[in-house]
């Protein structure tokens, strides 16, 4: 995984073949744990999505796909689905663009570059719930230092009530999600860029290539795999972002920041409509499985 590491020679001999009993014994605790606390809950939620439930989440009547039909009839549900999609798309695009720009800046050698790199990691290194709370305070319309600084710098005369209005709330909250995601993108792109041979760039200079040509013909193809895998992961993480939204707005005002993940939580633990929560959890499970499967395929392809 790190630079100096080599893969162990996978020799076949007595070492690999004879002791599979021991292998199963070693794997037993972790696998049983995953079966009980991960696989069983998923199966349970799939079953629950086919039942009528009471306020305590107890399954009462088998109703087949009625929960699904009920939910699909609600306009709000489709709005939430749509919002989840453009929440994810917008955030991932901005994270990728911003991360790429920062990586290009950090790829230039100068004194103090390591310090800059370290400082840029901090939004990712910090605790996400704590950051979300800090941002709530930063955005405070009267006592927040963001509005004060914007006014003092003459950028905005009357800054919006960031978290108070539907449009501004959506953009305020998505920015926090983006802000947390930028460092990862930057680090990964930077690692990719640094593995590209310098000879390629020197040859390009000899051929008279300009900065844009170098970027599109050398840098971008050079980090293609990294770009793909980082984007996939970013899609998963962004789609799953519960903490930022729940802590900052709880999906409001008037549902303007509600995405599938927060909607599931609200249905289940605030409105006590467990069956609908379960239906949406199943939908989320299917979506995530598809993306995770693509990631896994890609990961193994690269490993081998």
């Amino acid at each position: 995984m790190t630079d100096g590491m080599q893969r162990a020679p996978q020799r076949k001999g007595f070492f690999w073949t004879t002791e599979s009993k021991l292998a199963y014994l070693f794997l037993l605790p972790a696998t049983v744990y995953l079966l009980v606390f991960m696989i069983y809950p998923i199966i349970n939620v799939i079953i629950m999505s086919l039942f009528q439930t009471n306020r305590l989440g107890k399954m009462i009547d088998f109703t087949g796909f009625k929960n699904y039909r009920d939910l699909f009839k609600q306009q709000v549900f489709w709005e939430v689905i749509l919002r989840s999609i453009y929440w994810t798309a917008l955030a991932v695009v901005v994270k990728t663009g911003f991360g790429m720009m920062l990586a290009l800046l950090l790829n230039v050698k100068y004194k103090g570059r390591k310090v800059a790199r370290t400082l840029i990691i901090i939004p990712w290194a910090s605790s996400i719930p704590v950051s979300a709370m800090l941002w709530t305070w930063v955005y405070h319309h009267e006592f927040g230092l963001l509005n004060y600084s914007l006014k003092a710098a003459g950028i905005l005369k009357t800054p919006p009530v960031w978290l108070g209005m539907p449009y501004s709330a959506f953009f305020s909250v998505i920015w926090v999600d983006i802000w947390i995601g930028i460092p990862f993108m930057t680090l990964v792109f930077l690692a990719g860029m640094q593995s590209i041979s310098q000879d390629l760039y020197e040859a390009a200079v000899v051929d008279g290539a300009n900065a844009f040509q170098k970027f599109f013909h050398i840098t971008l193809p050079g980090i293609r795999d990294v770009l793909l895998i980082a984007t996939l992961l970013s899609i998963l993480w962004t789609f799953n972002d519960f903490n930022v939204i729940y802590i900052m707005t709880k999906g409001g005002p008037v549902g303007s920041t509600q995405i599938l993940i927060t909607y599931i939580y609200e249905h289940t633990f605030e409105w006590m409509k467990w069956n609908y929560g379960a239906v949406m959890a199943v939908i989320t499970f299917i979506i995530l499985s598809i993306i995770a499967w693509i990631y896994a395929r890609f990961y193994f392809k690269r490993e081998e």
Binding site: M1, T2, A8, P9, F15, W16, L22, F26, L27, P29, A30, T31, Y33, L34, F37, M38, P41, I42, N44, V45, G57, L102, L105, Y110, I121, I122, P123, A125, S126, S127, I128, P129, V130, M133, L134, W135, T136, E142, F143, G144, L145, Y148, I182, V188, A191, G192, L228, L233, N240, F242, I247, I261, I264, T268, A278, A292, Y295, Y299, F300, E303
Partner: protein, 276 residues
């Protein structure tokens, strides 16, 4: 090369601007945590406190239950880390050293499962934890937190074990060591840097956990830091000077730990792609 030199100052200026831009909320945090309550709620606000109020750092321990929150977070994070390590070391060893039926499938499962959102399972986990009478207990939170550290740690650790040459172990086995002895005396010491990375990772992940705590904890006595701070925000007039002071204390150790493992973490997540 000449052009490289010409753009360098420009690059540095832009990097500095972006760094300041990205660290903005932390500047706000530092400014607020050094103000008194009255200064925090003055309109218009200002950056530099008129009188530096270090007393905030004393008050959070004496007037508010932050000491309890810190203790709870520590117990839960330490518990999760220990449980994760105990479960993952043998599993990671088996995945990296043995060939057996279902190995590939298991690897896929571990990789896919770590991508899942806790929201998928929280509905059923709530019922399981309630049935086990573990709502509002440390053990309940430790059990659910471990679900999400387990697969990633197994995955990372198996990568480290793979890098250790098989020959070393074979020699020990021929010399009469048992398999368990070779793991304890040879594999773990050699893989120690990797083990430290995964231990730090588990600790950070559960220290920062919020949703399970929100769902499974009811009393102040069991509330971890993230939830405790969140409950603090919900009030009519949030005492931001205390909140930012606690936030500062909560994130500094986490940031330092994170910076120690950041390189290995990125390498583990992205896998073969960075090697180029």
């Amino acid at each position: 090369m000449k052009r490289q030199k010409a753009i360098k100052p420009l690059v540095i200026v832009w990097t500095v601007i972006i760094v300041i831009f990205l660290l903005f909320p932390f500047f706000v945090m530092i400014s607020t945590m050094l103000k008194s309550g009255n200064e925090v709620y003055s309109s218009p606000p200002y950056w530099i406190p008129k009188k530096i109020a270090f007393s905030n750092f004393i008050k959070i321990w004496t007037q508010h239950p932050f000491a309890i929150y810190f203790r709870n977070s520590f117990i839960i994070a330490a518990g999760t880390t220990i449980l994760t390590t105990i479960l993952c070391v043998p599993a990671a060893y088996a995945v990296s050293r043995f060939r057996f039926f279902g190995r590939k499938l298991l690897l896929y499962m571990y990789l896919v499962v770590q991508m899942f959102s806790p929201i998928i399972v929280v509905i059923a986990l709530f019922k399981i934890i309630a049935r086990l009478h573990l709502l509002d207990t440390y053990l309940g939170l430790i059990l659910v937190n471990t679900v999400f550290t387990l697969s990633f740690v197994t995955w990372m650790l198996s990568g480290y074990f793979k890098t250790i040459p098989v020959d070393i172990e074979e020699a020990a086995l021929i010399d009469g060591c048992t398999r368990i002895q070779t793991i304890i005396r040879i594999m773990i010491p050699i893989a120690a840097p990797g083990l430290v990375t995964t231990i730090i990772y588990s600790f950070i992940a559960s220290w920062n956990e919020f949703m399970f705590a929100l769902t499974l904890v009811q009393s102040v006595a069991k509330t971890p830091l993230t939830l405790g701070l969140y409950n603090f925000v919900g009030r009519y007039r949030t005492q931001w000077e205390f909140l930012t002071a606690s936030a500062f204390l909560a994130i500094i150790p986490i940031i330092v730990l994170f910076l120690l493992i950041e390189k290995q973490l990125v390498a583990g997540i992205v896998g073969g792609a960075v090697k180029g």
